[in-house]
Amino acid sequence: MTALIFLLVAVAMVVAVRGQRGIAIGLFGVSFVLAALWLNYHIVDVLNLSL
């Protein structure tokens, strides 16, 4: 999944360099939402913040 997110961002960057800002920002949005969901998936452990 992380590989897919990196790939999406790389495609967004190439699209931006080619001059299509709208599509690039759309791809950024998709990859950002995926990254946020993936972070949420990984933060299931209970935090112990005191001894």
Binding site: A3, F6, A16, R21, F28, W38, H42, I43
Partner: protein, 186 residues
């Protein structure tokens, strides 16, 4: 002042690419494999770089800075979570320390620094480049700006390949001991 802001964005994009290369150095030279939260911090770094890249390609605009700040907040959340996981004495740590701090702590400091850096660039930037045509901004997208953009793209693609080799197509082990692809190699 506009050229200084442009240089600041190029330095930001290039700096992020160099940091990601340094992370590769630690991974391959010291043999420290990144955990899922570490990979998400790398994702946040490239997303920050995307904001700088948009400024280099389309001219400085608040929207691009907003994307960089959003990405930095995401990175700070991932790094902050990892710092809190190990903040109680005796709960261990992940990876080795660099100058007394672990990489996730440096990462948290870095994301706060990105937000501060973007704030400074926005203060220096003055009026946004809305009035410039795409042709004008495209003409200025050369030299160090172009190099920084393509370096960032190359490093992002390298990270995609690295994540696939390390974790496979779906999930990554919380404490990876080896590369996923190694299971399929003779």
């Amino acid at each position: 002042m506009a050229s200084l802001v442009r240089l600041g964005n190029a330095v930001g994009a290039m700096g992020i690419a160099i940091l990601l290369l340094a992370a590769f150095g630690i991974q391959f030279l010291q043999g420290e494999l990144p955990c899922p939260l570490c990979l998400l911090q790398r994702v946040a770094l490239v997303l920050c770089g995307f904001g700088f890249l948009l400024n280099l390609r389309f001219g400085v605009q608040p929207l691009h800075y907003g994307l960089a700040i959003l990405a930095a907040l995401f990175g700070a959340a991932a790094a902050g979570r990892q710092v809190l996981l190990h903040i109680v004495p005796g709960t261990g740590a992940y990876g080795s320390a660099l100058l007394g701090l672990h990489l996730y702590t440096w990462s948290l400091i870095l994301f706060v620094a990105v937000i501060a850096g973007v704030a400074v660039l926005m203060i220096m930037g003055g009026r946004p480049d809305h009035d410039r045509s795409d042709h004008q901004t495209a003409l200025r997208f050369r030299g160090s700006s172009r190099f920084a953009a393509w370096l960032l793209i190359a490093v992002t693609l390298a990270n995609a390949l690295n994540s696939f080799v390390l974790c496979g197509p779906v999930d990554c082990a919380p404490d990876p001991m080896g590369y996923w692809i190694a299971k399929y190699l003779p």
